[in-house]
Amino acid sequence: MPELAADSMLRDAATVVGKDLRLEWRSRVTLSQILPFALLVLILFAFALDPDRRILEEATPGLFWLAVLFSMLLAIQRAYAVETADGVIDALRLSDLDPAGIFLGKAAGIGLHLLVLEVALFAGVTVLYGATPRGYLLLVATMLLATAGLAAAGSLYGVLAAGLRVRDTLLPILMLPVVAPVLIAGTEAFSAAYAESSGDGWKWCGLLAAFSVLYLAIGIFAFEPLLEES
């Protein structure tokens, strides 16, 4: 890709993510609605699995990533609800913004929101489930790589569903099977990070990295036709 095209793509991505962060600053949807939802999911897991902390502690990695996936669906729906309201999607098509830049900007915005949610959820499982990690580096790497993959896939499937009247109910059906590898790899890597030894945790991080790269690449090339169809 020519350097100028890449520069333009990154500049447009920065424009879009800046706008999305400003929208969140004004509306506080993530902080006032999605974050409480994520913490509520953690509390409901605790109710469902008995307040026996041993079970919760053992199940912490899986419950953490399930809560992230459920919250991710809301974050993606919000990210694309603002683009489909009031004819904004037509304005995006008519703009000079590079579609790949729009994709990266939307993915970056979703990713930043997810990171905030994950930090809050981490504090939640630490307090509610009594889980204490031993491998912090592995934990942080898992969060960053999984977030990149979820944000990229979310941005792609978000625009795919954006133009449909049934988008709110269709998105979970489309997304959850696709991100199952992130749930599995994230859970395994987190299990290693919470165990005495990191073990195979880094191998699972490799899978997360591959997933992220794959969906970022697909998004950069496929976002434009999907935007056309939405």
Partner: protein, 224 residues
């Protein structure tokens, strides 16, 4: 005079419905052309087709030198479309919306600020979230974005709708200014008295075709 819009037997299908059923239309550079016709006649689809937002499936369609049958995307940055919807982010302020869309159209911040002033949105209103605006104020904000982007072809769908008397006069002035600056304007309107006063000529859209070319210009067409 250069042709800005040239449609020949252009067909546009929305699903299976032929929203445009063989349109022939020529618009020369520097013209202000009024599209008139009943609801559902195809005026909005014709404007969206000119903007490259809906595909032409048969016939020929050329806008600003771009063959829309071959690839309609290159024409989009060259046109400005004011549709029924304003295309604004409700949670951003008026100024933030205008600046964002100006930046997305490769315009400078100074263009955005000048457009805000031109539309009378540079005062207290600039910092008001769009969600709190009246319909007329939203329309002004959408027009400010168009002004800031300085498109070569203005496509306006009911531009006077929701505006007060001052706003309607402002729209007429914007169209005249755009043409004076070298742009071309095609607009649809049901307010024929006002629209015919500002248009150089009028065409009638009915049943997805342009059926009534009025030969006599309604106003003097400027020499390009």
């Amino acid at each position: 005079m250069d042709s800005v819009v040239r449609f020949r037997a252009a067909v546009c299908l929305l699903g299976r419905f032929p929203a445009l059923a063989g349109v022939d239309l020529d618009v020369a550079a520097g013209e202000i052309v009024l599209l008139q016709g009943p609801n559902g006649a195809g005026k909005t689809t014709l404007l969206r087709a000119c903007a490259g937002l809906v595909p032409i499936t048969e016939g020929d369609a050329d806008v600003l030198g771009v063959d829309l049958r071959a690839d309609r995307r290159p024409v989009r940055p060259l046109v400005g479309l004011l549709g029924h919807q304003a295309g604004l982010y409700d949670d951003l302020t008026v100024a933030e919306n205008v600046r964002f869309w100006s930046k997305a159209g490769r315009s400078q911040r100074s263009d955005a600020d000048a457009a805000l002033a031109r539309l009378g949105l540079d005062g207290r209103l600039a910092e008001v979230p769009v969600a709190k605006l009246s319909a007329g104020q939203r329309r002004r904000t959408a027009l400010a974005i168009l002004v800031a982007r300085r498109p070569r072809l203005w496509l306006l769908d009911e531009p006077h709708a929701a505006l007060d008397q001052g706003g309607r006069d402002l729209v007429d002035g914007l169209m005249a200014d755009a043409v004076a600056a070298g742009a071309t304007v095609v607009f649809a309107s049901h307010e024929l008295d006002r629209a015919e006063a500002v248009a150089h000529r009028s065409v009638t859209v009915a049943g997805g075709t342009v059926s009534g070319l009025l030969p006599a210009p309604l106003a003097e067409v400027p020499v390009a």
